[in-house]
């Protein structure tokens, strides 16, 4: 059974079977990553463009590694060193890149909906690597894969997403994906950072971090995104850290809890250094699994006829 779509734009509306297929396919690539030669010839002859209009370390390197390990040819584009600086529009940029005969575009952009727009102006397979505050599907998939690896299943798992939920594409993709897979999802953060009507997505809301720690199997701790002016939503970073920062003392109430973080970490703000390097977190597992998940998505979309 192939995926039901030839793009991965988000996890909203993506059927359970598709998510299941991606997670299972990622197992294969986890094994490939353990080999002495971490490369397979599967996407030979395919050309993939990494179009990053926003800064990124993990996601870009992860996608690039995934592409190379599947033997595709990759082109990297970053806004700062391109003709975008001369005023070329997104549409013209895409049209020109497509004219060079490429097969797939990985796009990160600060404007929500950019990947959807690309599907209308070109024929390549489009993968969303983060669009503004909308979605970041591969991050949510790797989070779910890491949780499945740890707990065996997602159904019934209690996951709380902590922090700046309103400005987080990681949060939204996780909410859609986890709910589809049957997990119990809640969110926790300062009331200024929890969107109104979020309950309509099927999540519970709490404003008390100690309650969230006590009642959940997993915390997915979001980064305070200072580049999205997150600082304006609470009085000070110190105050945020005091009321919502994850510290070892707070985890004493639930010693078995698993901590995820999509990175990059603001140590001492949303998570203390002790927790970030401690036994509850699986942050670097997430990063490793990210390559396998992206290989799975590239494989499933790239070999679709």
């Amino acid at each position: 059974m192939p995926l039901s779509s030839r793009h991965l734009l988000g996890l909203q509306g993506v059927p359970k079977d598709d998510i299941q297929l991606i997670l299972e396919t990622a197992n294969t690539f986890r094994e490939v990553l353990e080999r002495p030669i971490k490369k397979v010839p599967t996407l030979q002859g395919k050309t993939i463009v990494n179009l990053f209009y926003e800064n990124s370390t993990r996601t870009r390197i992860s996608f690039e590694l995934a592409e190379k390990r599947l033997s595709s040819d990759t082109i990297n584009f970053s806004q700062s060193s391109s003709s975008v600086k001369k005023g070329e529009s997104l549409k013209d940029t895409i049209r020109n890149i497509e004219a060079m005969k490429i097969d797939m575009i990985i796009i990160r952009h600060s404007a929500a909906g950019t990947p959807h727009y690309l599907t209308k102006i070109c024929n390549a397979n489009i993968i969303n690597a983060g669009d503004g505050i909308h979605e970041h599907p591969t991050q949510a998939l790797l989070d779910m894969y890491s949780l499945k690896e740890r707990f065996g299943k997602l159904e019934g798992l209690k996951v709380c997403i902590v922090g700046d939920v309103a400005h987080s594409r990681v949060a939204l993709s996780n909410i859609y994906g986890l709910i589809t897979m049957g997990a119990k999802v809640s969110v926790c953060g300062p009331s200024t950072m929890i969107p109104r009507f979020i309950e309509k997505l099927g999540v519970n809301v709490t404003y008390d971090i100690d309650e969230a720690i006590r009642d959940n199997d997993v915390l997915n701790v979001l980064r305070i995104q200072l580049e999205r002016k997150a600082g304006g939503y609470f009085p000070s970073l110190r105050e945020y850290a005091k009321y919502f920062g994850i510290t070892q003392e707070r985890l004493d109430n639930n010693k078995d809890i698993t901590i995820l973080h999509p990175g990059p970490i603001n140590r001492g703000v949303e998570i203390s250094s002790e927790v970030a390097d401690g036994n509850n977190q699986i942050i670097l597992h997430q990063v490793t699994n990210g390559v396998a998940i992206r290989m799975a998505v590239l494989y499933l979309l790239g070999t679709l006829n």
Partner: protein, 181 residues
């Protein structure tokens, strides 16, 4: 329901595997450096059975690996159906080993080509020998088996179906007539 003839039964299959196990040991003068590598899906079970027989004969437990070659196939651009990938499971070092590669049917030789490429990514074995349960002809690549269970010349309108108790509930091999189109 297409026409099918049973060409090998349970006892026949067992005899083939007994003979091949002896042949493997004879050719390699023992089992010292051998490892078995079954190709998913049925090669995996054939390999397990050969391992059992060799243990009875030589009292040695050979390392047993499972190889999934989907990622190495050459028909991604042409086939209509997307193949489902599975996981290889090789827990030992294959460097310097004599590998017995095991599959059920040898047809075009393309799967074996994929397997050879896949194995080279795991290391540098001393040698690779091929055991095929049924050789049905129609090779498209210069590939031959070192051990053959049975040669069954077929037409392209026929198919060989190997059934094994582990997943199909019975041990037998059928020659199936496909509808000519």
């Amino acid at each position: 329901m297409p026409d099918q003839i049973k060409v090998v039964d349970k006892l026949g299959l067992d005899r083939i595997l007994t003979r091949i196990s002896h042949e493997i040991l004879e050719k390699n003068k023992g089992s010292e450096n051998l490892v078995l590598m079954g190709m998913r899906t049925r090669g995996e079970f054939l390999a397990a059975r050969i391992a059992k027989k060799i243990k009875q004969i030589d009292e040695i437990e050979l390392p047993l690996g499972i190889l999934d070659v989907t990622l190495y196939r050459d028909d991604f651009r042409t086939s209509l159906k997307q193949p489902q990938v599975s996981v290889s499971n090789i827990t030992f070092d294959i460097n310097g080993k004599d590998i017995i590669l095991i599959d059920d049917v040898l047809f075009t030789g393309r799967t074996v080509r994929s397997a050879l490429n896949a194995l080279m990514d795991f290391g540098r074995p001393a040698s690779i020998q091929l055991f095929i349960l049924i050789d049905r002809g129609h090779r498209e690549l210069p590939i031959r088996a070192d051990y053959v269970g049975k040669n069954i010349p077929t037409s392209v309108y026929q198919e060989i179906k190997v059934k094994m108790e582990e997943i199909d509930g019975e041990d037998s091999i059928y020659l199936v007539e496909l509808n000519k189109k």
